[in-house]
């Protein structure tokens, strides 16, 4: 029973939270959706970075690919009806992401982290330039008029209902990631992360695992991007800058690298940071220029003193109470 306790708590939270938010703080519904989307993004990043040890500095680019594919297919006229369905558009985004990811990372996966980081960094810049400069993608003003998310006749017409849709995706992605990292595949992946040569010697096909985890993480980013596009009903280039990658990195350190549930915690913490800073600045207006400074200090302190993450630290401190839950997660 203990094995399922985390899941039961989580599902109850997902069902109850939107109702509570709608009653007491409707303005926070949008934030809750963002937390859900961000959770998918962070878990995807964590799979590649925390489990696979493969750094991806163009992660925001794959997020953008998903968002822009959805925008192009659902908001533009003259797209075949079958493709303009949100789910079909989401799937197309994933396919595009996978193809791009494969093409750019295949040659450099063997040569180590620095070059992979550089190629992905360059990819992120190319995506930003293209979205910013190419008229077909809307240029600096982006694409607007993306419809609400729907599955067939079922339309998620308000933030309240969309919250459930997003969290259903988040739930599924957590479930899937846990299945993945606890399978043979996940064990091999961790072997690759801790020592590539040793893994190779014991018969693990290192390049294959690196490639696969990279593709999986690109798919996660792309799905999160599609959901994001439906949430804001429009996309524009400044949404997909390096700052986003910074926030995702911050989130995996908040939650602890290589913990799936930690991704959820990290996403929630990072998404509540802006609310916290806004609250502070409304009390003390002079604080408005200290946003980066606060982020920077928090970020530095966490990595210096809690490299296992806030979540990991809480688990250690709470010891007995949380240890059983951690095993299930």
């Amino acid at each position: 029973m203990a094995k399922y306790r985390m899941w039961i708590v989580f599902i109850v939270l997902i069902v109850v939270t939107p109702v509570l938010l709608r009653t007491f703080a409707p303005a926070l519904l949008g934030r809750s959706i963002l937390v859900g989307i961000f959770t998918i993004l962070v878990i995807g990043f964590d799979l590649a970075v925390g489990y696979g040890g493969q750094i991806n500095l163009g992660f925001q680019g794959f997020f953008a690919v998903g968002a822009y594919t959805t925008a192009l297919l659902t908001a533009r006229k003259g797209v075949p009806e079958m493709l303009s369905e949100p789910l079909a558009a989401m799937l197309s985004g994933c396919i595009v992401s996978v193809i791009i990811c494969y093409v750019i990372s295949r040659p450099v996966l063997r040569t180590g982290g620095f070059f992979l980081a550089m190629v992905t960094l360059a990819f992120g810049m190319v995506v930003y330039t293209l979205t910013n400069g190419w008229d077909f993608l809307g240029g600096a003003s982006g694409i607007t008029g993306i419809p609400r998310f729907r599955i067939g006749p079922l339309i998620f017409g308000t933030d309240f209902w969309y919250c459930y849709a997003v969290w259903a995706f988040a739930l599924f992605s957590i479930f899937l990631s846990l299945r993945m990292v606890h399978s043979r595949w996940g064990i091999a992946l961790r072997a690759v992360h801790s020592d590539e040569i040793a893994a190779e010697v014991t018969g693990v096909n290192v390049s294959k695992y690196k490639m696969e985890v990279f593709l999986v993480s690109a798919i996660y980013a792309s799905i999160a991007g599609s959901l994001f596009a439906h949430h804001l009903r429009g996309v524009n280039p400044p949404m997909f800058t390096f700052t986003l990658l910074l926030l995702v990195t911050l989130a995996i350190f908040f939650g602890g690298m290589g913990t799936i549930w930690g991704g959820l915690v990290g996403a929630a913490l990072v998404q509540s940071l802006p609310e916290g800073v806004t609250a502070l600045t409304s009390y003390w207006p002079w604080m408005s220029n200290t946003r980066e400074l606060l982020y920077g200090i928090i970020f530095v302190l966490i990595i210096l003193f809690m490299p296992e993450g806030v979540f990991g630290r809480v688990i250690k401190v709470c010891g007995v109470l949380f240890s059983r839950r951690q095993k299930s997660g």
Partner: protein, 289 residues
């Protein structure tokens, strides 16, 4: 004929910005050589140097003194980074160190925003002269940038090959354990490399500040270009970083002129992806990562 003059003009501006990228890439390569850290706060050194330069000039301080002071500010930031963040966790892996420098860059950005606000600033050029030749023109300030970077490269070359400290640094790059066995203080070398690298970044910032807009967010663009140039040159190769820095600048300006200014960042970075597809270790690459 007119077309050729255009090309010449783009080449000139390419070499000018390329000098800046080359300095940043050299700084990047310095830290990488000494400590194996990919320093994602490198762009912030450029930003701090540039912002400090503009600020000091605005206070009415003469240009040479302002230049020196902004380098000092950069060096302080570099030492702060090494002592405060990198040194305590120097045994950590690539990911932790990467995240630490990223965190530090956010911190520096925050400081800059607190001190200088969110607005973009621009400074005064070193010389107002403009020289014309065969249809193209070059400003006095561009000559200052190109000449200045040449002087810096010569100085660095002299330091690394002709002084004891520089040779110790090269030895440290070659083999850290071996260097510490013959009595080289490797931690000192790392600190020194951060200081030199920060100074290089600040010099680049102070040189480029008058011809571009600087704000607390300006570091990123220099970081990306410096990183990519250092990488295309093959990580750890100083010469490669220089060549790649100049090439990046020239490609960027040519594509801005021939294709469209909107795509100038994209073309250079797309070329980087294509290049690494065929030469996954960069031009001068010899590292066994």
């Amino acid at each position: 004929m007119e077309y050729l003059a255009y090309i010449l003009q783009y080449l000139i501006s390419g070499v000018t910005v390329g000098s800046i990228y080359a300095i940043v890439a050299l700084g990047f390569s310095f830290i990488f050589n000494a400590s194996g850290v990919c320093n994602f706060a490198q762009g912030e050194f450029v930003m701090l140097g540039g912002m400090a330069m503009i600020w000091l000039l605005g206070l009415g301080i003469p240009t040479p003194l302002a230049f020196l002071l902004s380098i000092v500010i950069g060096i302080i930031a570099g030492i702060l980074l090494e002592r405060g963040v990198i040194n305590p966790r120097r045994e950590a892996g690539f990911l932790i160190l990467f995240a630490l420098t990223l965190a530090a860059s956010t911190f520096f950005k925050g400081i800059a925003r607190l001190v200088w606000g969110v607005y973009e600033h621009s400074g005064r050029v070193f010389s107002q002269d403009v020289y014309h030749f065969s249809g193209a023109s070059i400003s006095g300030h561009a000559l200052w940038i190109i000449g200045g970077s040449m002087v810096i490269f010569a100085g660095i070359w002299f330091f690394l090959t002709r002084t004891l400290l520089g040779k110790a640094m090269m030895a440290n790059t070659d083999n850290r354990v071996g260097a510490s066995l013959v009595g080289i203080n490797t931690q000192m070398i790392t600190l020194l490399s951060f200081a030199i690298s920060a100074a290089l970044g600040a010099i680049a910032g102070a040189l480029v500040a008058p011809i571009t807009l600087m704000s607390y967010q300006a570091g990123g663009q220099f970081l990306f270009r410096g990183y990519v140039a250092a990488g295309v040159g093959g990580f750890g190769s100083n010469l490669g970083a220089l060549v790649a820095g100049y090439m990046l600048g020239i490609v960027e300006q040519l594509s801005a002129g021939v294709i469209s200014p909107l795509f100038k960042d994209g073309v250079a970075f797309a070329l980087v992806i294509i290049l690494l597809t065929f030469k996954p270790l960069g031009f001068f690459g010899k590292v066994e990562t």
